[in-house]
């Protein structure tokens, strides 16, 4: 049986599933329920500075995107950081940590971009016994208008500066939470590392408007006829998060920097994918908000089952295993030639592959009057669209042409060796043969 215990930045937790700083971790009551349900750790809902707490809207704060049968695919929120007094949160954190010493408890913090503000709050957080802090440089709504959240996260110099203040004034691990609302995620991650961050966590939510009410012509969620962009999360954002995590894992300047993976983690499989791309653990929010805390049970059992199948005894055994296989387009093997193959036994004759290929791709699927669909190898560029649109899993697959075979589309013999764009004769930048 696989051991799910993780040791992230020296912080031990019984499993790699932490609840992200968000509504589910705003109060002692919720966090105790989460720990009872089996979560490995929580990042407490973001704390603000001492004084009057922020206020939230009093109308709806979430919007949603649905798939079939109202399955929630994407959630958007305009909630701010905790709207409860700092003192109350700190007292609760201390009590919870004392009662659950084996679980990870991280304090998320967002205070103004002044050293005094950070100096003021950090010792108080340290007193709670929290295992570390996470700097919220990510929230894209509300707080960013006041110069905090993603307003900091979008300026690498600020990230580095604030991270450095924290490292100087706090002696436990510092995690920097990154916003995806930037052009190149490597820049803020590098800044965090330069500031001394122990880890980065990503992604925070993405700027979004989930929908427009076409009767009132206002964004959803609508507050008295108006709406504001919010932060998008849930299964829909996972591909964006995976890509950003992989870039940090691959980037020479940030390689090896521990990552806490966030963004649409809903099942054990999502978690395994983040970890394979270099994350040391994952943080979850939307899945818990959709299904309740019990969902962690499937994640734990599923990950354990899969690790047993693969022979991984501990989570760190497969951290980053997919990173070496993430490469740049120019290094992809152009001698890897495949053709689509349709399993006629599995085919239900819906014709979606035909419509997709005929209308939008390469006219590489033939259709007979009795609705038999066959791939025309001489036209098939192996784009995979037919595989993607086919409603039957494994009905269409890609088959590799063996070296020595002739590709009927190009008339060329498939080569055994690896060759990529960097040396391709069509590439003007390719090294020229000596004259």
């Amino acid at each position: 049986m696989a051991d799910l215990t993780t040791n992230f930045l020296g912080i031990s937790s019984p499993n790699p599933f932490w609840l992200a700083s968000a509504p589910p971790t705003d109060k002692e009551y919720n966090v105790r329920r989460a720990f009872e349900a089996g979560w490995g750790g929580v990042v407490w809902k973001t704390l603000g500075e001492e004084g009057l707490p922020v206020v939230n809207v009093n109308g709806p704060r979430y919007g949603a995107i649905y798939g079939a049968d109202r399955r929630l695919l994407g959630l958007n929120n305009i909630e701010l950081i905790t709207d409860r007094p700092l003192e109350v949160n700190l007292e609760e954190m201390a009590r919870v940590k004392a009662d659950y010493p084996d679980r990870a408890l991280i304090a998320s913090i967002m205070v103004p971009c002044e050293e005094a503000a950070w100096k003021a709050i950090l010792p108080r957080v340290a007193e709670t016994g929290a295992d570390g802090i996470e700097l919220n440089f990510g929230c894209p709504h509300g707080m960013s208008e006041r110069g905090m959240g993603s307003a900091v996260g979008q300026v690498p110099e600020y990230i580095e500066m604030v991270t450095r203040w924290c490292k100087q004034n706090y002696d436990r691990p510092v995690i920097v939470k990154l916003t995806p609302n930037i052009t190149d995620i490597r820049k803020p991650a590098t800044a965090a590392r330069n500031g001394g961050a122990d880890a980065v966590s990503l992604i925070n939510t993405i700027n979004s408007i989930t929908s427009i009410d076409l009767d009132n012509f206002a964004p959803e969620p609508t507050i008295d006829g108006k709406g504001s962009h919010g932060g998008y999360c849930g299964p829909a954002v996972k591909p964006i998060a995976l890509s950003m995590v992989s870039e940090i894992a691959r980037n020479p300047e940030t390689r090896g920097l521990p990552i806490s993976g966030i963004g649409g983690v809903t099942t054990w499989r999502d978690a395994a994918e983040f970890i394979a791309l270099g994350a040391g653990n994952v943080q979850v929010c939307t899945a818990a908000m959709t299904y309740g805390f019990k969902i962690v049970e499937e994640m734990k059992r599923g990950l354990s089952e899969w690790m047993d199948e693969k022979g991984f005894a501990r989570v760190e055994d497969f951290v980053g295993m997919a990173v070496p296989n993430v490469t740049d387009w120019q290094y992809l093997n152009l001698n890897y030639v495949t053709k689509a193959r349709i399993d006629q036994e599995a085919c239900i004759k819906c014709g979606r592959c035909y419509a997709a290929c005929e209308d939008t791709s390469h006219q590489a699927i033939a259709m007979t009057p009795d609705r038999t669909f066959e791939v025309i190898d001489a036209e098939c560029v192996a784009c995979n669209l037919c595989v993607d649109v086919c409603p039957v899993e494994n009905c269409i697959s890609m088959e590799r042409l063996a070296a020595g075979a002739v590709d009927p589309r190009t008339g060329r013999v498939v080569q055994e060796d690896y060759a990529n764009w960097t040396t391709h004769p069509n590439n003007p930048m390719a090294p020229q043969a000596a004259e």
Binding site: D69, I348, K349, C350, G351, A355, R371, P391, V392
Partner: protein
């Protein structure tokens, strides 16, 4: 109250509550969420097999997609453009042998997209809001006679009216709708839907219905041709095939039994036998047998002369009958009805010919219903094909200016087929009239 086991033919075998439950909607309407879930199962197939399987060529994937994007009324328009009786067809079409049989999910999982119920969801949405979705073209000054206010006649009349022609429908009975009103099982079309649908259809304007006018009675084809620019015959099959056996006179027509049931104000007042035997194997036979059970008959037997798989009624209808407690005996033919006993003889297929085997069975029979087919009552000079009006192209009969469609012409006797034939004849009539 009459006891359920009262011998002979008697009314009131069941309580009002039992009758209401028995005759409730066979396929209750989908609510909005159910419709969205059902619609989401559609794959939006290329050159979809369901469209090919629909006699009226409704663009099924399109209307289902319109439902899933929250526009059931727009979906209804897509349906009604092709089939103006799309509401009734959603209820009574044997979808299991048409669109839903062709659905790729039927092949994939044995569970097709619920096209019929989705069609009903869409058409109900439109009809609930009232108002008629189509607008008449400018008047053409042409006047067309349509004989029969059944599905073929109504579809033809509506399409002609939409094109700007004036239409008079001559209907022998006192109500419109044809078999939608007088045939079909009551549990397929509840709440007086047939009448409501005709009212709604007539909302197009330009259609007048003259009741109590029967071709061959006070109406002649010659007179119709003289008084109108074109004639469409959408008449029903007036004669019922007799059982060739002693005692046939003691039996009744299943179609009459069904018509009486459809028109009854109080189903408890309708007499039904304790032991009922229905002879036949088509949809009419099943409709009669099931409804006899639902009225409270203790034993209902459906006797069919060939194998089950040759029955005109679909597998779904056969299973429905079985689930309601109808006993289906196949490979038997009627021999005699005497003194309340139905005598049947087993049959065998010998070199393609059906013959009695000599083995007989006797069933107590307070009520015997004939459902072995109907015939067209011959009409003057019209050429016939297999006993029905011979037509070429879009319903052109052998007589110039006379078109025909529906049950009186060759082809499957289904509401949806009749609608297609009426609609196509109307287009042909329109083209002919506009050319002249």
């Amino acid at each position: 109250m009459t006891h359920p086991l009262t011998p002979g033919v008697a009314a009131g075998r069941l309580t009002t509550e039992e009758i209401e439950a028995n005759f409730a909607d066979l396929h209750p309407p989908l609510d909005q969420h159910e419709a969205h879930v059902a619609a989401d199962r559609c794959y939006f197939c290329h050159d979809a097999p369901c469209i090919t399987a629909c006699p009226t060529d409704i663009d099924i994937p399109l209307f289902i997609r319109q439902i899933s994007t929250g526009q059931p009324e727009a979906a209804a328009r897509t349906i009604l453009e092709q089939n103006i009786l799309g509401g009734m067809c959603a209820r009574v079409c044997p979808t299991e042998t048409l669109c839903e049989q062709a659905c790729v999910r039927e092949m994939a999982e044995g569970k097709p997209v619920e096209i019929g119920r989705l069609q009903r969801f869409a058409t109900d949405a439109m009809m609930t809001r009232q108002g008629h979705p189509f607008v008449r073209a400018a008047a053409t000054g042409k006047h067309v006679a349509v004989v029969g206010a059944g599905p073929a006649g109504l579809a033809c009349a509506h399409r002609l009216a939409m094109k700007g022609h004036k239409v008079t429908i001559y209907e022998a009975k006192e109500k419109p709708g044809g078999l939608n009103e007088y045939g079909l099982a009551a549990y397929k079309t509840t709440d007086d839907f047939a009448a409501r649908e005709v009212d709604w259809l007539l909302g197009i304007g330009g259609i007048e219905i003259a009741y109590g006018r029967m071709l061959g009675g006070d109406l002649s084809l010659d007179a119709l041709r003289e008084g109108h620019d074109a004639v469409f015959l959408g008449i029903g099959l007036g004669a019922v095939n007799a059982l060739e056996m002693p005692g046939d006179a003691e039996a009744a027509n299943a179609v009459d039994f069904i018509a009486a049931l459809r028109q009854a104000g109080d189903l408890r007042a309708l007499p039904v036998g304790r032991n009922v035997v229905v002879i036949g194997g088509g949809m009419t036979a099943v409709d009669a047998a099931v409804q006899a059970r639902l009225l409270g008959a203790e034993n209902v037997t459906l006797a069919y002369r060939r194998d089950r798989d040759r029955m005109g009624a679909s597998k779904f209808e056969q299973d429905l009958a079985a689930s309601k407690g109808v006993r289906i005996i196949s490979n038997v033919m009627p021999v005699a009805l005497e003194d309340g006993t139905m005598v049947l003889e087993y049959t065998a297929d010998v070199d393609g010919r059906l013959q009695g085997t000599g083995e007989r069975i006797e069933l107590p029979a307070d009520q015997v219903l004939r459902a072995i087919g109907q015939m067209l009552v011959p009409l003057g000079d019209l050429g016939l094909e297999r006993g029905k009006i011979a037509v070429a192209g879009a319903g052109r009969s052998g007589i110039a200016g006379v078109w025909a469609g529906g049950d009186c012409t060759p082809g499957e006797d289904l509401t949806v087929v009749a609608v297609a034939e009426g609609r196509d004849a109307a287009e042909d009539i329109h083209a002919a009239l506009m050319q002249a």
